[in-house]
């Protein structure tokens, strides 16, 4: 085996290529020089390619460049060996080099055609430039659109601010108007009290000093007195109604039972007058609320219960409480004259009187005061009624205002 290889590479039985050219100097020099220049070039070209490949991998991505380089280098080597064989007949070695070059050339030939489809698709520099220009344009376009959007956004923001300011000033104006209305009601009713007080007092004096014995004149004077008293009550109620808005809420821990007892004490005269019966069943419930608002609510609702019971009926009023999911309900039930249930919503409006009945001395302000006071308390009210049978008011106190609610009572 080793012997075979040595035999293959032996050179003694060959003649150098120079012999073929009969050692003609000009011919040999041309061959030698050409082979050398080709070899040198075929060495420099792949070096340049490889240099480019490593320096600009973004530009020349394909490994085919390595194959091309190897191919050119191999061609260069065959020329170098060709140069040697002019003087030295290393034909065995030359054959091996040529075979290697053949393999590399073949591979390169196959690869070059295999790459053809992809290569054909490579954009030309002009296409790239066009595309680049188009891209530049679209970027500029995008930038303009963005700037436009920014302008619109800024405009919108300004508009929102303007609207907010407008709304704010409107709200402030409304608040001012409301306050001035409330002030107006307050001062008007306050100043109206004085002449009414005088009419009441002077008509009393006139009745007392009337010596004419004229029954008709006495009736007139009594009517004046009565009307002035009613007007005074009305004015005072309007004053109370207006004052609720100016009231500074003062939250305290209150016992519902104690507040109810205080109210009943205040109403004692009216209750005894009608020989009314009040049943209270209120467990020890503590709430956090404003005492004067609570007093106004209870005073008006319980007062109404007594007031709106027909003269021929003994007022029977039941005051109870009930625990609910939302808090505590405070319920006032009477056996009074009730009203048409379809008018339920209207009874809470100011000056709303359902009974034109002269026997009931109402101003139509009581429930309006209640509603306003409840609004400040954050409580709500509902009503159930059967005309001529009675009315039940349910006041709902929200859970977050309940300090303690002992359901068992004492």
């Amino acid at each position: 085996m080793l012997e075979d290889i040595r035999f293959y590479f032996e050179t003694n039985s060959f003649l150098a290529h120079g012999y073929c050219m009969t050692w003609r100097t000009d011919l040999i020099a041309l061959h030698a020089l050409s082979d050398f220049v080709i070899f040198l070039s075929y060495f420099i070209i792949p070096t340049a390619l490889l240099y480019l490949y490593y320096k600009r991998s973004d530009l020349v991505q394909s490994r085919i460049i390595l194959l091309f380089s190897a191919f050119i280098l191999a061609c260069g080597l065959t020329h170098l060996v060709g140069l040697i064989t002019l003087w030295n007949p290393v034909y065995g070695f030359e054959g091996v080099v040529k075979a290697g070059t053949a393999v590399v050339s073949g591979l390169t030939a196959v690869a070059s055609w295999m790459l053809m489809p992809a290569a054909l698709k490579l954009p030309s520099a002009q296409t790239l430039r066009l595309k680049n220009d188009a891209l530049g344009l679209s970027i500029a376009e995008q930038r303009r659109a963005n700037a436009e959007l920014e302008t619109i956004k800024a405009e919108l923001e300004i508009r929102i601010q303007e609207r907010t300011r407008e709304l704010q000033s409107k709200a402030e104006a409304l608040e001012r108007m409301n306050a001035s209305l409330s002030d107006y009601a307050h001062f008007a009713s306050h100043d109206l009290q004085e002449p009414l007080r005088k009419i009441v007092s002077f008509s009393e004096l006139a009745i007392e000093q009337d010596t004419t014995g004229d029954a008709e004149q006495r009736l007139y004077l009594e009517k004046i007195n009565e009307s002035a008293r009613r007007a005074r009550t009305l004015v005072r109620n309007i004053l109370h109604h207006a004052e609720i808005d100016q009231h500074t809420v003062d939250i305290q821990d209150l016992s519902l039972r104690a507040e109810t007892e205080a109210t009943l004490e205040n109403l004692e005269l009216a209750i005894n007058d009608r020989q009314g019966r009040i049943d209270t069943d209120i467990p020890d419930i503590m709430v956090r609320a404003d005492p004067s608002l609570v007093a106004q609510v209870l005073q008006n609702i319980i007062g109404n219960a007594i007031k709106y019971t027909p003269a021929d009926r003994v007022p029977e009023i039941a005051i109870t409480t009930a625990r609910t999911d939302q808090g505590v309900d405070y319920i006032i039930k009477d056996n009074g004259m009730g009203f048409d249930p379809t008018l339920k919503d209207r009874i809470f409006q100011p000056f709303m009187r359902l009974h034109s009945n002269a026997s009931v001395d109402g101003t139509g302000m009581g429930l309006a005061i209640v509603v306003k006071a409840l609004g400040h308390l954050g409580w709500s009210i509902s009503v159930d009624t059967v005309e001529t049978q009675g009315t039940q008011f349910t006041i709902s106190i929200p859970e977050d205002q309940i300090v303690s609610a002992d359901a068992s009572g004492e």
Binding site: V200, S201, L239
Partner: protein, 139 residues
């Protein structure tokens, strides 16, 4: 028969008339003689009390005064009167149209003996005046 002197300071002539009428009725219903002196200007009242220093029988048994008056108002008059040494024990009552609680509290804190809202009927007026003069209610 006792003799009582009551002084009224009020710019409202109607109210002076009503208070006087009520006092006359009290006088008729009880065994006492009443002297009523009235001032419609707080300045005049101030001058009167300033000049009455040291003269024992010249002071009224009680003063009732309004608050809202043009010029010197009741609160200021009260303050000035309480500054006078010879008036420290004089009962001064405020009888005003105002129902404002703060005004009444202020009057008490400045030394008013009592602070009332002007009564709404002759009966209520009589009850109030009985308290001023220390006359018991007739049963």
């Amino acid at each position: 028969m006792s003799n009582k002197h009551i002084c009224i300071v009020d710019d409202d002539l109607d109210d002076i008339f009503l208070m006087s009428a009520s006092l006359r009725r009290l006088e008729a219903a009880s065994a006492m003689t009443l002297t009523i002196s009235t001032f419609t200007d707080a300045e005049d009242a101030l001058n009167f009390f300033a000049g009455s220093a040291g003269a024992p029988g010249s002071l009224p048994d009680c003063v009732c005064m309004d608050i809202n008056m043009p010029g010197l108002d009741g609160i200021e008059l009260l303050r000035r009167l309480r500054e006078m040494d010879h008036l420290t024990s004089l009962p001064i009552y405020i009888v005003s149209t105002t129902i404002d609680k703060h005004t009444h509290t202020k009057a008490i804190s400045l030394g008013a003996t009592g602070s009332y809202v002007k009564p709404e009927s002759m009966a209520a007026m009589q009850t109030m005046q009985r308290q001023f003069l220390g006359i018991r209610e007739i049963e």
